[in-house]
């Protein structure tokens, strides 16, 4: 599996585009890097509540670092999951809780995805990950 991009890669890449089409084409392309969960892994208890599309999240912990596998049936959400995991993947609970996701999305100029509570449900995903971190 190719290594997912880091937050700095993403910030640099997105700053490069100036129209919506290029930006979302980039997010759609990112979605292709996110491993797909199998049907067996896509269980109902892993569904994140509050998303219009289905989003599954599996959390593992290894030597104090949290590892997430996430997937969605919607492509743009999958792309956005890559943006989110860039910040959270294989980080400690403290690092996860300290990360300012709102500021990051603001920097990416994708604020609406994180401020709108309904719709694509990114906020619920971030909330769920932070909850897992605070219980780890």
């Amino acid at each position: 599996m190719a290594k997912l991009p880091s937050t700095t890669d993403i910030i640099d890449d997105l700053a490069f585009f100036d129209d919506w089409e290029e930006r979302y084409q980039y997010i759609i392309d990112l979605s292709k890097q996110l491993p797909v969960l199998s049907d067996e892994e896509r269980t109902d208890d892993r569904l994140v509540k509050g998303c219009q599309s289905s989003v599954w999240l599996i959390t593992g912990i290894d030597q104090g670092k949290l590892h997430f596998s996430a997937d969605s049936d919607a492509i743009i959400v999958r792309g956005l999951l890559v943006l989110v995991l860039a910040a959270y993947q294989d980080k400690s609970a403290q690092e996860i809780l300290a990360f300012d996701m709102d500021a990051y999305f603001k920097e990416l100029d994708l604020e609406r995805h994180i401020t709108v509570t309904r719709g694509n449900g990114l906020r619920s995903i971030v909330g769920k990950i932070r909850q897992e971190a605070s219980q780890a």
Partner: protein, 406 residues
């Protein structure tokens, strides 16, 4: 009267605005319609000229507020051809109207009584009756639809028995656009059983000529905001002799005749079912919207809407990879669809970036989605002010979305 869509559009300020830097193409009219300036003016006029509580008299402002508020009731009466103003009850919207009926119904129903609904219900016209059944031990029966989203009228008839006490169905389906033959269905109920009939008119009121006497139903419910009016106001129309015996549901001011510490007597209709200070501005705004609507050439509006829908459905059936969901012969205002290899949420998102507003998801009709074997759809819903150019632009935007997503 001639009909010119540009003249009509000019009366809706929001239609001239931009979203995401693109001219707004608003195709989410089944969720809520946009508002004409005259409606907005009526709201402003109420607050700037005669804001006061109603029916409390004693001063000029209150008299004027009451006059405008009650005139609005008369406008609704005319729109739906009701016979008595006491039959027009203000509610928050369709949902509250249905809850008002369900609340009374659950007190009247007995164990083993039956309620009949259809497979195409909005949750509001399903869950309410589920609750009434749960409270009373009555049984909820669901009449089938066919794969194109039309009611199976034989199945509907077979549901009607001597135990049927209440039948509810939508004038039109919000998810598919299917228009139901409500007059024939009501007649069928009335000839087979001693049951009350409720028509969920949320999607009927802006697209059909509603004549409650001709339909023959006992209740007709709709929301003001889907009829060019404000949010937070709607109507329950009920036949006088039914409403007159209907149990009160909320209690408080306005609906009372006499109160002592241990008991009270209820006031007259319509106030008996309108507890508390009503949504005065909302009712006045809705009245203005209804007056405006009635002044339009509604035959021309209807024809325009029908042509638009037909055109959209034609383009949809030719669009490679598109599956139309809901292809009933009689439809109003809605094209629901899927595009191969894409999630409706993604489609909606890429359309939004291009200024095109549609709705995606289950449309508050999860059992219907399940029945049709889909998780949800993308839904385009049209209104009188949409244009052929907008439908063309929708399909250009869809093509782009399809290219990006597949």
């Amino acid at each position: 009267m001639s009909f010119d869509v540009q003249t009509l559009r000019a009366q809706f300020p929001i239609l001239g605005t931009q979203v995401n830097g693109k001219p707004l193409i608003y195709l989410d009219n089944a969720a809520t319609t946009q508002k004409p300036q005259v409606m907005i003016d009526a709201l402003v006029a109420f607050y700037t000229q005669c804001n006061a509580n109603v029916h409390r008299g004693a001063h000029a402002l209150s008299d004027e507020a009451t006059r405008r508020f009650e005139n609005a009731r008369n406008s609704v009466l005319t729109l739906i051809n009701a016979t008595r103003r006491e039959e027009v009850i203000w509610t928050k919207g369709t949902t509250e109207a249905l809850n008002l009926v369900a609340n009374g119904l659950s007190k009247k129903l007995k164990k083993n009584d039956e309620i009949v609904v259809t497979e195409m219900e909005h949750h509001a016209n399903l869950v309410t009756w589920q609750q009434a059944c749960e409270a009373s031990g009555a049984l909820l029966k669901v009449a089938r639809i066919n794969d194109s989203g039309e009611l199976d009228i034989d199945d509907f008839q077979s549901m009607l028995t001597e135990r049927t006490r209440f039948v509810a169905f939508p004038h039109a389906s919000n998810a598919l656009g299917t228009l139901n033959p409500v007059t024939a269905m009501t007649a069928m109920v009335k000839s087979h059983c001693d049951a009350l009939v409720l028509v969920d008119g949320a999607q009927g009121i802006a697209h059909c000529d509603v004549d409650v006497q001709a339909i023959g139903c006992d209740f007709y419910a709709f929301s003001g905001h889907k009829l060019f009016g404000p949010t937070g106001i709607g109507v329950l129309w009920g036949r006088y002799d039914v409403l007159d015996t209907w149990p009160v549901w909320q209690t408080g001011g306005e609906m009372i005749s006499t109160v002592e510490y241990q008991q009270s007597t209820w006031g007259e209709l319509p106030y008996r079912l309108e507890a508390g200070t009503p949504n005065i501005a909302g009712a006045i705004g809705l009245g203005a919207a209804v007056d405006w609507f009635m002044q339009q050439d509604r035959i021309a509006l209807r024809q325009h809407e029908d042509e638009l829908l037909k055109y959209a459905m034609e383009l949809g059936s030719e669009f490679s990879g598109m599956t139309l969901v809901g292809t009933a012969r009689e439809k109003v205002g809605v094209m629901s669809f899927l595009v191969d290899g894409t999630h409706p949420g993604d489609l909606g998102f890429i359309l939004d970036q291009q200024g095109v507003a549609i709705r995606t998801g289950d449309h508050c009709a999860q059992p219907l989605m399940k029945r049709l074997g889909v998780g949800g759809t993308a839904r385009v819903s049209l209104s009188i002010y949409n244009t052929v150019d907008e439908v063309d632009a929708l399909f250009v935007a869809l093509k782009k979305a399809q290219q990006m997503l597949t």
